[in-house]
Symmetry: C2
Subunit: 340 residues, 2 copies
């Protein structure tokens, strides 16, 4: 219905064989310039558009890349996708975007759906619930190109993009300590995922370095529910020996923390300093403005896409290298960690 004329009809109109027309449109050397021109102009005139599915069926390529993210309402992931699209679009690739909402079961369903070849590759950031990775292993075993970013899956030998999680968290925690924090806390969504581990490691290293003994209660695992998190954090903050600094390993938890603080008598940064991983453009407009660790999300997306495109377009390309590409984050100091 929506699709117009077919190659055969175009060929009939030109009194040529479909094979000739196909070759002409694909600029084959076997076709004379003269007929190429004829074909091109007639194709233009009749508004011919090749059927992508016939082509996909024949070529066994979809010209589509699947992107799987844990949440859509998040500046970081949106920027990464913008970066991916920037590069892939130039090469005629389409983006299938899926959101897991941090749900492993949903992630599995999506991955299984993609097993049929609807996409040529997957770029993903795993859900915070993902500990069983059998679905990802299945992909890998079939030789399906996967590429991870941010929330990577270390067990799958492929290319991964992360930021310098350990190092930048170390520096961020040092900053907290430098600003006078004696009892910093670390907020995370899950203990299992890779970046959490690295960031936590950096956090603990800074404490050790400063000779601060860490209260395990201050390494807080939060959940998906905003309200619950606010409650958890409020309870954390109203206890006797409460934390005086917060390092949120994900943006969502820093915001929950702001909300929790509003329910107490505490003041940021006087009573509590906060620093968080976040790519929000408006961190500077928060009350008080939020000190952030921001990843170069857009270029991370671009880099992912470049590697993928190379793998997909060049022939006889080896499997994606088992390497971790580190792109450093940037700490932007704002009011939430100031000494008053």
């Amino acid at each position: 219905m929506a699709s117009g004329i077919s190659l055969k009809e175009l060929a009939a109109e030109l009194k040529l064989a479909p094979s000739t027309v196909s070759r002409a449109l694909n600029d084959s050397y076997e076709i004379s310039e003269q007929t190429k021109k004829k074909v091109l102009s007639m194709a233009e005139k009749l508004n011919y558009h090749p059927n992508p599915f016939a082509r996909s069926l024949r070529e066994n390529k979809s010209k589509a890349i699947a992107v799987i993210i844990p949440e859509r309402i998040n500046t970081f992931f949106a920027q990464v996708i913008d970066g991916i699209e920037e590069i892939t679009q130039e090469h005629g690739y389409h983006l299938l975007v899926y959101c897991t909402h941090e749900d492993v079961e949903k992630e599995k369903k999506i991955v299984n759906l993609l097993l049929n070849g609807r996409a040529d590759a997957i770029v993903m950031s795993v859900s915070s619930q993902t500990s069983d990775i059998s679905h990802l292993h299945k992909l890998y075993e079939r030789g399906f190109p996967i590429l991870f970013f941010d929330r990577i899956c270390s067990e799958i030998p492929t290319t991964k993009f992360i930021t310098n999680d350990y190092q930048v968290t170390l520096e961020a925690t040092r900053h907290l300590i430098q600003q006078g924090c004696k009892r910093p806390a670390f907020l995370m969504l899950s203990e299992d995922i890779s970046i959490t581990k690295e960031r936590h490691r950096g956090f603990l290293a800074a404490l050790k370095e400063a000779g601060i003994s860490h209260n395990p209660e201050f390494s807080k695992v939060c959940c998906q529910n905003e309200e619950t998190n606010i409650e958890i954090l409020k309870n954390l903050l109203i206890q006797e020996n409460r934390p005086d600094g917060i390092l949120a390993s994900v943006e969502k938890l820093a915001l929950a923390c702001y909300q929790a603080v509003k329910k107490t008598d505490l003041k940021i940064p006087t009573d509590l300093k906060i620093i968080s991983f976040s790519n929000m453009g408006i961190a500077g407009l928060l009350n008080p403005s939020l000190t952030t660790i921001s990843q170069p999300a857009f270029s991370m997306g671009e880099e992912c896409a470049r590697i993928l495109i190379k793998k997909l377009t060049k022939t006889n390309q080896p499997a994606l290298a088992n390497e971790v590409v580190v792109i450093p984050s940037k700490i932007t100091i704002r009011a939430s960690t100031m000494v008053e």
Copy 2:
């Protein structure tokens, strides 16, 4: 490579004809329960996944829906897509997501790419630059299902989802006036697009109602560049007879306004009250917290999807009705419009 066994091979394994296997998998009445079970279990065992392109080619359906938005880093659009995905996923549809970055030329390219049938329908919000709508007309003429939301294109007779732009802006402006604003200003990205016109109309109506004569200079058209907008707004705010209230028709401009105010001696809300269309979850955390007009984005996406699914799955469905569905917005009053 990635795709596994084919229907033919599965049939050979079962010593059945491909047609029988196909019918068994599609639960046809022509096949006995016994063989159906055999086929199902063998398909499971051999990990058979039907090739989506062969199916698409045969059925002339892609099982994909294209979503085109002007920007990804925007809570509203992200929520709408979440809503769309929620419904479409249940019905086995995939989402192709494209971002125009408010660029008409990009919008045209994307639309033209979709002319080949890669998607069964388009759900879109037009770019703020879109005044020439020939590319959209072409889609409509071919009978391609299009559905607009928020930034609709009135000239195309199809289903559109918007909020009560006129009414809610009228009320929002009344609120500004009630809070003491004598010289409110209206901020927009473009004069051409539908929602801007409606919102501006509501704004002007409220002024007229209150007997306030409007300075045309206070209906400010901004651009895409953040820095430029901040400059424009700063200049607007430092002049002698500056506005004392702002209604931003899009979130982006409210944020630019906050940035601009930081470069002046003005204080919100004392010297300047601000209300804005926005779906940011953290409007309450801004400094000061921002009074917002928020659209029910998620359910708007869901509604879009429901109508689309109905059109796509039921046979002999008429074209999408030429109607405008209005889903009311909600005003949440916060500190930025308070009287001190």
